[in-house]
Amino acid sequence: MHRVRVCLVALIATVAAAGQLAAQATGTVRGRTVNATTNEPIALVTVRIADRTAQSDSDGRFVVSGLAAGTYAVRANVLGYRQVTDTVSVGAGQTSEIEIPMYPMALALEALVVTGYGEQERRDLTGVVDEVPAETFNTGRVIAPEELIKGKVAGVQVAEANGGEPGGGISIRIRGGTSVTSSNEPLYVIDGVPMPVGGGLSAGRSPLNFLNPNDIESFTILKDASSTAIYGSQGANGVVMITTKSGRGVRDTGWDLTYRGTFSGSVVSSRPALLTATEFRTAVQNQAPDLIDYLSNADTDWNQEVQQSAFGQEHTMVVAGGTQSTNVRASFGYLSQEGVVQASKNERLSLNVAFNQLLFDDRLSLQANVVGSRVADRFTPGGVIGNANNFAPTQPITEEGSPYGGYFEWDATRTAVNPVAQINRISDEGTTYRSVGNVTAEYDLAFVEGLSATARFGYLATSSERRFFAPSTDKNQINRGLYGTVSRSNPTEYGSLFDGFLTYNRMFDVHSLNLTAGYAYQQRRQDSPSFYAQDLSSDLLGLNGVPSAELQQTSLFVEESKLASWFARANYSLNDRYLFTATIRADGSSKFGAGNQWGTFPSAAVAWRVSEERFMDGADFLSDLKLRLSWGKNGNQAFSSYAQYKQYVYGDPQAQVQFGNDFVSTVRPSAADPNIKWEETSSWNLGIDYGLWNNRVFGAIEFYTKETKDLIFDVIVAAGTNLSNSVITNVGTMKNKGVELTLNAGVFEGGRDGFTWDANFNFAYNKNELVQINPFAGGAEQLLWGPFISGGVGTQVQVLRPGYPINSFFVFQHKLDSDGTPIVGTDLEMYEDLNDDGVIDQDDRRPFESPAPDWIIGHTSLMRFQSFDLSFTMLAQIGSYVYNNVASSTGFYDQLRNSDRPNNLHRSVLENEFVTPQYQSDVYVEDASFLRLQNIELGYTLGGVLNGMRLFGVVQNVFTITGYSGIDPTSTVTGIDNNIYPRSRTFTGGLSVTF
């Protein structure tokens, strides 16, 4: 609702003085634009009265003068807020005051965007920068902060590494991956401090878990080369900038205390399709009747026995306040969440302090951010999920007189192991202490107008620990001849950085210039000590001590890396219409070999704001149209240090050589490429930003193509030419191209109390192609790739073949009979003989689909009606394929005989009737396209209670529509579904209140 207050005093004074004051020809309107919900001033608002325009300053104030007396319509416009129209009356020679409250659009775009080493106005951007503000984050129980942006940005795929594990590791792919052996993760920058690859060190879960999602203000994703080139040899996979909340919002003196608390419960949302006890007994009777005597008479659903309803809670308390020149925000958070598989849990205690200070007449701005947390993880022991899938359902959980802690176990050694026993007897835990912080000083230099200098000192420190203990009477330990294991590793990582740069802003006439130039230096060190003891003499010490053990091994590895860079950027705009940007960065890294120590990464971009052109004046419906074209180069150096050195590694005491009556330790030199360098990506991006009907509908369309060369591979070299059969060197090439489309719409605008509905759609299409992996092969060589699947020894079902996407599945083509069931018989009867040579061998496998989706589609809806708000997010992927390893490793009748005691089978065996394993059949490569309602939240705001209270409830993972037969179509980013942690449906309820 609009509220227009005309100052009564002014009006009366005007009337009273009408006769006394000399008649003046024009009047003035003075006003202030504020955010209607928070009462904060809004800068850069364009206010139009009659034919006059003014722009509000940083305090929201504007002045429009030279108006003849009368009543006028006022139009206020700024990106991210709904346009406001109002009226104002002006008297001759008088000043009218007007206050314009503006409602933020739910899917707002900030006017100022964080870019690398600086900020820029969104309207002047020439690169692709997508921002996700806190209002649009995914809601519910979110532990790893990367989950907040899942489905929110076109072209950004957020995939869990281990299914639904609480806080489990996450992979982000921006516009398809650009590497095969080096990391594909984007560069994470937290408050200006770049993180090590993938977010840094972790004790086993997502390294970014130390961030409390409630403390994150926004994510800014830099996608094209023009915006990422300023990060040089670290930016090839895109950049994800995380900005934590600071106290900047609180302008008035005083303090604010906010509390937010939630409770949640989760249940498993889907279970693997295995045989029941009765079906299993029938299968054994029919297929392996000699084994029937091994079966007992119980009926155990092992998956149900190891799963649980998981409960969690989170509490965050924020204290914020300040004075005119000081702002402080401190937040304390506690999170505890169990996983739906027993013995897994994640707990976090976090502290985030942000401090802002203005000094020297506001010339010096000092900003300090410190984020610190302690994360305690408990892990479900490895193998539990696999054993729950494999253990025969006819067996009981406990057995009287069992020497294995009272649990039933098979009396042979090559068997599955009781998963309930493992959960209760094995401990696997981790603790991580992590802190990231920076102090930034920005000083406006006096002697040159528009010149400022910034210096930033940042640090990151991680100390983590992973502890493991398995007793000597654990059946798995006995089977593998380990007889008890205790181990502990304590990796630590420390890093520091310094950035120093100068910024120059100048506007004169129709030109506007913005220059940045600077230097950055960072160094890191990672220490990884660990010890391992096996064959323990006693189980009494558990996790916390080392009894005498037959085998003890210790290891220590230290890795250091350094990076020095020079960078410069120039932004120039002409007439507010023609925009040019150029950046260049030179990186020198300790990881690069002597011949390639420094790399240079340039980029250039142009943009044309078509909607400002005079010939577009007639097109009123088009409020914004900007064409952008950019090109740039950036690099990827996410491989280990020291690859350029021929390192001599000492042998351990179990690998000694007998000389006479003594044993001698060995030392071995490694193969190395002394000139190793970064992987380089050059890309083009063509973009169109559009806005219709006063930005009621706005968005962007992007077309891009990326070519990556010098991919790092362990290449098989000619035998005898190097100190191994392979050496790590730069050889490959890969291409990605695609289209992205973003659409934001204010579908219903009901004002303050009416029904409002904002919707966002994002579509992205990416096509990946590997061009070359070995220069000798002329494009013909292929490499078997991917993790080793469960089943067989060293079997891989993916391939790198030039001309096909990376990680394409490499399988036989299974012949189907008339009703679509795969044929069972000899190899020749089952599989297509693709090369017609009468034999089914490795030459008849062919590349078939890949795990990367063709299309990723996201949708967010935010609705409001009076005091209620409802929002939901949907995510869809089309064209991704997954290899169902659970089915392939247990879906054949011979699996009953593969171990010493029969293991359970996958239900697919009832349909397929496979007797021998068919690991390499394309029957198991399934279409994993899906549509999922990711979360839905209903909230109610109670006005008048303290300073505002909101109650809300969220359901996550509401439903998934997919044709995939496994438990989750988003099984990891590698595309192999092999006993991943099950996904869960979570119900969360909570409240947030401000005092």
Binding site: T413, Y443, A446, F447, A455, F498, G500, Y519, Y521, Q523, L556, V558, E559, E560, K562, G588, S590, Q597, S641, Y642, Y645, Q647, Y648, V649, Y650, G651, D652, P653, Q654, A655, Q656, V657, Q658, F659, V664, S665, T666, V667, R668, P669, S670, P674, D714, I716, V717, A718, A719, G720, T721, N722, S724, N725, S726, N774, F776, A780, V793, G794, D841, Q842
Partner: protein, 525 residues
């Protein structure tokens, strides 16, 4: 203004100070670079130990870890003596393996293909040894020693270099025997860059012979070397084998040269051990019959190949692994019926003590390769001659005898029958000495009339079965390919079928042909 200028200067100083942090070099911390490692004179021996370790171990962590070939998943597959054994035994009349790993059944049939992963692994192992030796020789030249101030070690290093060259010649002999036309890469070949040219069998043969001849005098005398290390006895034995097969390699017989080498061996301090089985027990490093062995130890030299593989894989069926000193059986290797039938009946309990087979519950005939048919071969055991179990039931202490005196006796006999030297009377004595050791008395002795070349071929099987010699022997006698001798599953037919002659050489791995475009594949592949 004053204060303003001071502020600006301070900022400038800070920036300058930071710029000086421009150093971007790092040295490895937990491993040593080439320059530093040899500052410690103990490194030479450690490097030499690695050269020997290349025959027994798979990496720097035992039994697996920090593998020499990180690209392979199963590190145990990449072990030198295990692969050599598989390539020399599986396609012959001596062994069959029941596991289904891709490429293994193919080895049993003899119908090799260039994509066979085991052939590939052995190829890389051979050249890995060669490359390591080349690096060792480059780092131990007189100039390098002088640079580091280690000239006082010159004598010791000279022996190390001779041992290294012996090991390189050994691997080149294996390469020549298995593939024939391989590239010749020595320490003068520039590292990295261009792939080497292919050499001919003649060139490799010449190289091996000249290398061994050149270093002979720098090694300790016959039988005088430390256990596990090369000496003139091992060198003479190796040269004898190279000469013995010269007709196969280069077309010209060199039997008389082989004979002179065998004479050197027979003149050494070796003696036939009293008990055959004890040659393959956990304490077989104590027997005087061994000329050159690849030593293993349950605590200090652990691998998943070597005798760990031989002892575990030959155990299966109703054998109690504890009787072999093992934790459990791997159910893999059985003997082919042709080998069993070479011994005196009843083969299940032959008076010939070398027939160490397990027939309880087993059929003699092998109905399918991937099965558990056939007699098990628990020849390698992890118990000592006193009956005690070895130090580790997973990894035996048993060493793998690469060259032993009994082999030399049989070579003498063969050479005598081929007219290359010596006399057949002496030959008969040697053969009967072996048979007396096998039978425990003279009931197995043969007469001069029975001593023929065909007998020698069979006797070599009876004496040296499962020791990695069979394929070379069968090829030398012209029986490996062709149809003159058929054994179970030869050419993938249960009763055996003729094998085309191009299978006498293994194919050069397909991946090597791609990485080195200078190479031509062997004929027939």
């Amino acid at each position: 203004m004053r204060t303003q200028q001071i502020r600006t200067l301070c900022i400038g100083a800070v920036l300058l100070a930071a710029v000086s942090g421009c150093d971007i070099t790092t040295e490895p911390k937990s491993t040593v670079g080439a320059a530093a490692v040899f500052a410690d004179p103990g490194s030479y021996e450690a490097f030499l130990a690695k050269l020997y370790g290349g025959l027994s171990l798979t990496g720097q962590v035992g039994p697996n870890g920090q593998g020499d070939f990180p690209t392979y998943s199963d590190e145990g597959f990449t072990q030198y003596s295990r692969q050599l054994w598989q390539l020399q035994e599986l396609p012959t009349d001596e062994a069959v393996i029941g596991w289904g790993d891709v490429g293994l059944p193919e080895l049993v049939t003899g119908l090799f293909s260039s994509s066979n992963q085991f052939v590939q692994m052995m190829y890389y192992r051979v050249f890995y040894q060669v490359a390591l030796v080349n690096e060792f020789l480059r780092e131990t030249t007189d100039e390098k020693l002088a640079e580091r101030g280690h000239t006082d070690l010159a004598n010791q290093i000279a022996q190390y270099r001779a041992e290294a060259r012996f090991l390189r010649a050994l691997s080149y002999w294996h390469g020549l025997d298995l593939w024939g036309n391989i590239p010749l890469v020595d320490e003068t070949f520039p590292e990295g860059a261009t792939p080497p040219e292919q050499s001919t069998k003649e060139e490799i043969f010449q190289f091996v012979v000249s290398e061994l001849t050149a270093v002979r005098d720098e090694l300790p005398g016959v039988g005088a070397g430390e256990y596990g290390r090369a000496d003139q006895g091992a060198l003479a034995m190796l040269l004898a084998k190279v000469y013995m097969n010269a007709e196969v390699y280069v077309g010209t017989p060199r039997y008389s040269d082989a004979f002179s080498e065998i004479q050197r061996v027979l003149g050494g301090p070796y003696a036939i051990h009293g008990d055959y089985q004890e040659l393959f027990l956990a304490d077989n490093d104590q027997v005087n019959e061994t000329i050159f062995a690849v030593p293993y130890d349950g605590l200090s030299t652990k691998t998943w190949g070597g005798t760990t593989f031989l002892a575990h894989a030959g155990c299966g069926g109703s054998i109690d692994p504890a009787d072999l000193g093992l934790d459990f059986c791997w159910w893999g290797l059985r003997v082919k019926p042709e080998l069993v039938l070479m011994y005196e009946a009843p083969q299940e309990d032959s008076p010939d003590g070398r027939a160490i087979f397990w027939s309880d519950g087993q059929s003699l005939e092998i109905g399918a390769i991937q099965s558990n048919d056939g007699y098990w071969g628990p020849k390698y055991k992890n118990i000592t001659s006193g009956g005690a179990v070895g130090s580790n039931t997973t990894h035996p202490d048993t060493d793998f005898p690469m060259f032993r005196l009994a082999d030399a006796y049989l070579m003498y006999a063969e050479l005598a029958l081929r007219g290359a030297g010596g006399n057949t009377g002496e030959a008969l004595n040697y053969v009967n000495e072996l048979r007396e050791r096998a039978y425990g008395d003279q009931s197995g002795n043969i007469t001069a009339g029975e001593l023929t070349l065909d007998f020698i071929l069979d006797e070599r099987a009876r004496e040296l079965w499962w020791e990695g010699h069979r394929r070379t022997d069968l090829i030398r006698f012209g029986q490996f390919t062709g149809g003159s001798y058929l054994w179970s599953w030869k050419a993938n037919v249960q009763n055996g079928a003729p094998l085309d002659e191009h299978y006498a050489l293994y194919p050069i791995p397909a991946s090597e042909l791609v990485a080195n475009p200078n190479l031509q594949q062997n004929d027939g592949y």
